[in-house]
């Protein structure tokens, strides 16, 4: 009975138009833009999709989603349950509200230990807010298991997984013994979207509310400090190419590029 653990976190919708994106430089926090939703981090729902595809082939699998974050993170867990995940773990403890990437990894690894036996941990290749891409590998190191990063396909066969990894040009196939950690990329494909019936069913699935006390740990120390957060100024002086017709505009642009010795 394969047990797959997925890690999922919640983020401000990454498709927020750049014009609406603002930060509070003093607080070093992003100011939530009005109307922008909190959504499951994109690569994490893709990791859940990868787990569900394994379950499609191995129906006796159990999938657990683990999320560390404040109350609203429950929505992300619910979304994963509605996609077809069996059970959720919500670690919610004010002592780790401002956990850095390493403290986060320590807490998630402690949760895995408490969950007991597992075959596979699936995470996003990186989150879509802080984009650091370290939590999956760090958890693998803490647990002493191998990690395969940036997967586009995962085939599970009991004592091993066969993973197709995305390289800069092309792909490679890697076999890893289980248990192991695999981080998942968007090339895997679209995550399935929950149907109404599944959303109703998800309401009945269990979400374990855990605190650090349940995990038997105290708050891990942060290893990095955020010294500044700001929006870089990337605007340049723009010339809007004038002209009545496409031909006129094309001729003007070609002239500009040629004058600038770019073509």
């Amino acid at each position: 009975m394969p047990h797959i653990i997925c890690f999922a976190k919640q983020v401000p919708d990454p498709e927020t138009p750049a014009s609406q994106f603002k930060v509070d430089e003093a607080a070093k926090k992003v100011i939530p833009a009005p109307g922008v939703q909190q959504v499951p981090s994109q690569f994490d729902t893709i990791a859940v999709e990868a787990a569900l595809r394994i379950k499609d082939n191995h129906p006796d699998s159990t999938i657990t989603v683990v999320s560390l974050g404040p109350d609203p993170f429950r929505d992300t867990i619910k979304h994963c349950l509605a996609m077809g995940v069996d059970e959720g773990v919500h670690i919610n403890d004010p002592a780790v509200n401002d956990a850095d990437h390493w403290a986060t990894a320590e807490v998630l690894a402690a949760a895995v230990k408490k969950l007991g036996d597992y075959d596979l941990i699936l995470t996003g290749r990186q989150s879509v807010d802080w984009d650091m891409g370290v939590v999956g590998s760090t958890v693998a190191e803490i647990l002493g298991v191998p990690v395969v990063t940036i997967a586009k396909q995962i085939d599970y066969a009991g004592d091993k997984v066969t993973v197709e990894r995305v390289l800069l040009d092309g792909f490679e196939t890697v076999e890893a013994p289980t248990p192991c950690v695999v981080t998942v990329s968007n090339e895997l494909g679209e995550p399935r979207y929950p149907q109404l019936r599944q959303i109703m069913q998800a309401a009945k699935k269990e979400v374990k509310p855990w605190t650090l006390a349940d995990l038997g740990i105290s708050a891990p120390q942060n290893r990095v400090n955020l010294e500044a957060l700001y929006v870089p100024d990337t605007s340049v002086e723009t010339e809007v190419i004038e002209g009545e017709t496409a031909q006129e505009k094309a001729a003007t642009l070609a002239k500009r590029l040629s004058d600038a010795k770019l073509i």
Binding site: G133, L167, V224, K249, L253
Partner: protein, 323 residues
């Protein structure tokens, strides 16, 4: 007392010294050095001397068949041992296929932290200030690290490479890794046939987005790129839709490109796309929406339907090229 900067140089797939090695050397020297360059791989001894031409005092080369294709289990013990021996204040790796996988593992092994994908580094006393994009490129964050060594990965082409000069002492070491320590196995590798100029090396990139409406349009972009001696790129929307190969994706989760000229056609300019062209100075974009955010970062903005504009532009470019 930890001292100096350790960098992890890299070789390209075809065995040449990768440009990131010089970029890291320059960054390490700017932090105050002295610089030690570790070079891990198979068949890399021949480029060790060259790796030392960019400011390193010493090159530690570990040339072993077990390091041929990157696998964390093979590279990590070697990297950890070198890091402990050199005992540097700072370690730099490239944000490459190797560095992005190895750096978090190394940080955890050494009980410290890494700041990934940095675009600017400096020292304040003995503290490394590491600055990186986040929120898909919409924001920048600056970090310090509490432990030692302080580790950062550096985005490719974000920092200037110094010119080659000087030479370093080259020291050979054994990998000391046995096959049974490597738990993973690479069973296959498929690289698409590379046709024409590589996107990363091109001086002109013509990129297409979802606004092109389908895969057929890319023929016209290819023709334009051909005349300009450039390469064709794409937005993720295009790659996700299967209109153009994944390997041509430009952006946060695709390639970082640094052409002299980037022509964006039917691309809206999402921060995650712009993350791939953040060092490009000359962007010309074609979009039918005058408010498209790509225009804010563009030197030249063409507000027009690409279907009319691109064929006309191709003719004009041909005229310019014909003199």
């Amino acid at each position: 007392m930890p001292n100096g900067v350790l960098i992890f140089g890299e070789a390209t797939e075809d065995g040449k010294l990768a440009a990131i090695t010089a970029e890291l050397s320059g960054a390490a020297a700017a932090l105050g050095g002295p610089v030690t360059c570790a070079l891990l791989g198979s068949g890399v001894e021949g480029i060790a001397q060259e790796a030392g031409q960019y400011g390193a005092e010493k090159v530690i080369v570990v040339d072993d068949p077990i390091l041929k294709d990157y696998q964390g289990d093979a590279y990590l013990p070697v990297a950890e041992r070198i890091a402990r021996e050199v005992d540097p204040a700072v370690i730099l790796l490239g944000q490459t296929m190797i560095g992005r996988d190895l750096a978090p593992l190394l940080a955890q092994r050494l009980g410290t932290a890494v700041v990934m994908d940095c675009m600017a580094l400096s020292m304040e006393g003995d503290k490394l200030l590491a600055e990186r994009p986040c929120y898909g490129g919409a924001a920048r964050a600056r970090y310090t690290i509490n432990g030692t060594p302080q580790i950062a990965t550096v985005r490719v082409k974000a920092l200037d490479a110094p010119a080659a000069s000087g030479s370093a002492e080259v020291v050979k070491q054994d990998a000391g890794v046995s096959a049974d320590q490597v738990r993973t196995t690479i069973t296959a590798r498929n690289k698409p046939e590379s046709t024409g100029i590589r996107l990363e090396d091109a001086t002109v990139v013509v990129s297409g987005g979802r606004g092109l409406g389908g895969p057929e349009a890319f023929q016209q972009l290819e023709e334009l790129a051909d005349v300009l001696g450039g390469a064709v790129g794409a937005s993720r929307a295009v790659c996700d839709l299967g209109w153009y190969p994944v390997a041509t994706q430009v952006g946060l989760t695709g390639k970082i490109v640094t052409p002299d000229l980037y022509i964006a056609i039917g691309i809206s300019g999402a921060s995650q796309h712009m993350a791939g062209i953040s060092s490009v100075k000359n962007i010309a974009s074609v979009n039918k929406d005058a408010d498209a955010s790509i225009f804010k970062a563009s030197r030249w903005a063409v507000v027009h339907d690409w279907k009319e504009f691109v064929p006309a532009f191709l003719e004009e470019v041909k005229k310019v090229k014909a003199g």
